[in-house]
Symmetry: C3
Subunit: 366 residues, 3 copies
């Protein structure tokens, strides 16, 4: 039964990194204080696990029909990001959770989108894609950015307990609203008006079907592995960042987002090269939307259960500004449904500017 | 001669609430301190008066030809809002005046537009409307938002008398500019380029013509009644809000705007159900534009004559942010000239988010 | 050989003002303290010199083929602005340099564009232009605005030396990024995808060819003259502004930008009247882009060599807000590729609002 899995591993060099998973656990047991080593090892181990996770999700989705498959992809598509954030949440590292949420939105909407346009555009003169789909995603991102902007702007000086309570109530309310609108958006694009979004939602053609049993087992097993490695990653991160001279803002925003999204990036970029830009745009903006309207609100609501204290949606103003810039850029750029290499260069440059700023930022400003 | 008026009242259940108008005056005479009762009664009385007022305006407009009719609709269309604001202005309640201006813009551009899309979309799969018209209105709203943003942003710390004078001069200048550009916009859409805006400007088909005499008499009489009831409304509002546990920001932004716009909402929603989205979008955005570029500047200029002190265009930053969000949302959403239920849900949700924030806001932040 | 030059001067009344150039130098020698006189004279002398400069640039470009010609226009097109800014840079007047950069972007993207639409629209009912080109320019402007926004927003309170160093490093990095993307944009519009931008890039039809020798000599000579007059202009400006009761912000933003761009405005407006709106939009947005992505970053990098201290990209927040407003307005308005007089009135009004604000602004707020 596991033949397809081994076949997959043999054909996908990225998955060879799976060999590092036991190495991480061994290193953690032997020298738990070697933070920088653990940090680098856990990054290198999460990337192939994330690739396997999204492959297993797709395999389950392929077996369960369009509607349930779409829902599965829409809820489990960013399972890696969710698991990393949950590990940080349990450790009470709310600043890291928020940085990784904002960073994932910005990285998906700017870097994944921009690099897809750029890589696709270097091979194809002009590429077209379904702009209805891109517009819907940009609209959802816009809504989520507004929802995250409000608690962040309202209570800058909010040290008082009234202000903290307002922010918490508001965050819980906004989270419910975001999840509801995310669900309605799925109903709209997968059910009532699916004919407008054709092309964008469908995943890769089956490269060798997985049996459902294998897919489900892989999904469960890899989820557990990612959860454990994420814990090591989160624990080692702060010390390692200091050693490597990276600001926490840069690590949370850029490194975590790139690690968590590595698997999806591989898919998006390869689709762009094959002139299947619908898929690339769907993955990039879809991921950003999912994190903004599903992962982030779920984390807020879950924090009431598992966190040391409830988490709110109040972000560092710079993070909100970056989400706003990412949303506006994605919205402006996908307006026409056409792309060429320079559009990709432009969007990627916006990301480079933000990353450069975060890299130069002194630690205290975060 | 008054037969059409009675016929109208018989057919429109909303107008049966007119019976409450004498009740308000009686209650005010008998127990002027029953603020909450007066507040609720005056709300219930303004709604049918507003409906009658807009019906009379339309009837006069229908009798006077397209050009003058268009002008009448464009200047008297938000007479209720103007009368409420004038009552608040004379009472020196500038915070309330400003909250009701900003609230009316936000409510019209988000709730009236969004709910029209939603209600229309629940009955019709896809609806189309004239996007030239929507774009013009969105452009005018954008201009007005900039004009209101500037004095609000410039002088946050402006306690000094120089700063106050600058803000006042700037507000007077901006008001003149806004009225001029509003007039030019009317000339553009009603005269020089009217062929691009066909469909959006025309009002309902005549449901029984009113004689001009009746229409003018109704207009004059109801205006006086609205003015009186508005005075009672404004007087009772602050006390009633405290009793009901509502923040003044919520009352000014949401309650006053919903009360003032109730009649237009009924028209806009019913047009959307009949797949006449041109009319709905025209009413929703047209009202927002009229308040931003005509009512608000007129209030600033009139305040030199009737207010205890001149009023300026300096808004609470949160109000400016909400106007900006409303303008951007309306602009993004009307870009294509097509709508479906989810677009309506999205726009309405933006409104719900803002309303929820205002509801939770502690009184002092306003 | 110089016949074409004299012919040009005879036919272009603007060039008769060249007679004022020696007058400026004479006045400067005779009464170097007559600041207001020198200020007015130098303005009147720069305008015809700028006209001659852009004529000579075009003449050289016409002789050197499309590719090199495009590059020449793209780098020397705003030579006047560059020379004025260099004079201010050497004098250590960084506030003036920055005000003139921001002012030139705002003036080109709002006033030059808006007045072109207005003047063209008063003669032609509807005008069309290449919206691909306008979109590219708007996208580049958007990127530049983000790049200028970041250092300005990050370090408001940055009096510390760490903050100053961060701002300086960031500004240098951003300048390099902007110049690179400007170069890529040229490669995109002049080389790889030039078929999408046809119409917008080509300059006026040759109104009497200039020999290359004459063109180059004129270019060199007039550059030197503009450099000298700019120095007198910058020296006299501050005193003259005080005497005339103008705030420095108004002078830097409005006067310098109008003086520096006078020659281009004449071309843009005359093209609009002739229904060649592609050319007008190209000049207006192209100039704004060139100043934002080429002149400004070059000034930052050059400041390491010639300024008393390196210059950064940290702007007064009001200037950033105005650049943002200008970019958004230009982006919204050029979205359709169609124009009518009211669009022009709208864009011009945004400029009038900003200019009015700057005029009323007290000196200290700058």
């Amino acid at each position: 039964m596991v033949t397809p899995l081994f076949k997959e591993i043999r054909h996908n060099p990225l998955l060879w990194l799976l060999a590092l998973v036991p190495v991480v656990f061994a290193a953690q047991t032997i020298s738990p204080a070697a933070h920088t080593l653990l940090f680098l090892l856990s990054i290198a181990a999460i990337v192939p696990l994330a690739a396997l996770l999204s492959r297993a999700t797709e395999a389950v989705a392929a077996k369960t029909g369009d509607m349930i498959g779409g829902l599965l992809n829409a809820t489990l598509g960013n399972l890696t990001e969710l698991l990393i954030a949950l590990a940080a949440l349990q450790a009470g590292q709310y600043v890291l959770v928020k940085a990784s949420i904002a960073g994932a939105i910005v990285t998906n909407a700017l870097f994944m989108l921009g690099a897809s346009f750029l890589l696709g555009g270097l091979r194809h003169h002009i590429q077209e894609y379904n702009r209805n789909s891109a517009r819907l995603q940009a609209g959802l991102l816009f809504l989520a950015t507004i929802a995250m902007l409000i608690p962040s702007v309202l209570n800058q000086d909010g040290a008082s307990s009234t202000a903290a309570k307002l922010t918490q109530d508001l965050s819980a309310g906004l989270s419910v609203v975001l999840i509801v609108i995310y669900g309605l958006g799925l109903a709209f694009s997968l059910r009532t008006h699916r004919e407008f979004f054709s092309g964008a939602e469908h995943a890769e053609p089956d490269e060798g079907q997985w049996p459902l049993g294998l897919a489900l087992t892989t999904l469960a097993l890899v989820t557990v592995l990612v959860a454990f490695v994420s814990e090591i990653f989160v624990e080692s991160l702060q010390q390692a960042a200091t050693t490597l001279g990276l600001s926490p803002a840069f690590v949370g925003f850029i490194i975590v987002a790139l690690v968590g999204g590595a698997a999806e990036m591989v898919s998006a970029f390869s689709a762009a090269r094959k002139d299947r830009l619908d898929l690339s745009v769907g993955i990039a903006l879809g991921s950003a939307v999912q994190i903004a309207l599903f992962v982030a609100p779920v984390l807020v609501l879950v924090s009431y259960l598992i966190g040391p204290a409830p988490m709110n949606l109040q972000f560092w103003p710079g993070a909100v500004a970056m989400m706003l810039i990412a949303t506006m850029t994605a919205s402006l750029v996908t307006n026409t449904g056409r792309s060429a290499w320079f559009i990709g260069a432009l969007v990627t440059t916006v990301y480079v500017i933000l990353a450069m700023t975060l890299y130069l930022l002194p630690p205290r400003v975060q």
